[in-house]
Subunit: 241 residues, 2 copies
Amino acid sequence: MTPARKKPNINTSPLELMPDFQFAVSVDCVIFGYENDMLKVLLIKSDLPEFKSKWSLLGDLVHPDEDLDAASYRVLRERTGLEDVFLEQVHTFGQLNRHPAGRVVTTAYFSLINVKDHQLKQLDNELHWHPVNDIKTMAFDHKVILDTCHKTLQKKIQEEPIIFNLLEKKFSLRDLQNLYEAILGVSLDRRNFRKKLFTTDLLTDLDEMEKDVPHRPGKLYTFNHARYAKMKKKTFVGIDF
Amino acid sequence: MTPARKKPNINTSPLELMPDFQFAVSVDCVIFGYENDMLKVLLIKSDLPEFKSKWSLLGDLVHPDEDLDAASYRVLRERTGLEDVFLEQVHTFGQLNRHPAGRVVTTAYFSLINVKDHQLKQLDNELHWHPVNDIKTMAFDHKVILDTCHKTLQKKIQEEPIIFNLLEKKFSLRDLQNLYEAILGVSLDRRNFRKKLFTTDLLTDLDEMEKDVPHRPGKLYTFNHARYAKMKKKTFVGIDF
DNA sequence: ATAAAATACGTAAGGCATACACAATAAAAT
DNA sequence: ATTTTATTGTGTATGCCTTACGTATTTTAT
């Protein structure tokens, strides 16, 4: 330990921001979608010689006049054409040699979109959807970022009704259960699943049926945003570990 | 929307990191402690003219050769003299004008320490402990950062046994309950609290009693790290919102 | 000694999760 | 048309966990 001594500091003293202490800052978006009963993520091919033919997340440098959140929204919009979708910060990765070009600190976001809602923009570099479970390696530290975001997703869908962002407006209970199972990697009891979902009181019965399914059609539901907004945020106090 | 077009990008193309796209990157540590039945946080006075006499978190610029995590550990060590303590990243704040000196992106960490374990280092700028509930305003966006970390703390102590980092090695159940109540801002039933804690099987009965207390002394316990490490991480699957 | 305060232990009721069974309906096969 | 098959839709019993609350014990203060 160095002895106590007054040292100029970014929070306490007016000081100039020196170039040596400036880094590139980027955002990387883990864009999740759901297709063919699989959780998927939108990836692009990296042209960097160090990562030739490896897959990378969608990211970009944060612009000088741009908030972090704004930058991630921009990346998302440029790649999917979507606005007003679920997007949330997860974690910031600042390892020394995570990027070959130099020091780049990146903040990871995860997004949930309905695959059928959008058309992919800028189809350069083979932008497309990959089943999350098939991905073994990626460029940079992106596999770690993806895994982190996947875990966050698994945790969050159990705590908040964000999963509906991955489905179309109208869905059957079977759709919803398949999606939960795909994300969590478990199988759930159909009867208990229904019961649980109905007790949340967040599904509106549309009095409509599935169409063009090769079996008995199920009822269609929609997520009741209004009722969730009104729900008093559960002040859960419990110890559970 | 701009039409689809190939654009150089930090993840796809080799490109130089231009000075305009480089920012200062800092870490800010929300160091929590527990004293006199109150949750407290370690703060320092800011000398910046814009925030004269306002309180600030403990932070610093990340050094060019330093990981983000390493930087926050350094700040913690320099200020408290402590190593190997609980420290975890929470969120990154990148608002455009959050720092008067220019563009500074900061990553917030929260730490849990036992107040009696340490001596404060570098007592310049009136470094000391403040009750979290008394803090109304702070320098920079630090009040927002503090609130974010406080909420994260409230959530995490219900999910993982990290709260013991705030107590001494030996503690009574009363101590533990008071601490939970101080952090969560609720009162808990004493009998149910005991029962719950004992069922976790993570407390070792030391067969010792409190000393020098002005009432009937309670038993002393210690947190069983080994048993927690062995516990199979609960693969909880439930929907709860 | 007695009162006050905190610890320590216990029990009953209700709610919630889990496990499991069967009827109804629509599509596909015969 | 009838039967078969697959899937939807509903119900019930059990047990565990949370919650609410009662009472005895131990120590300190008067």
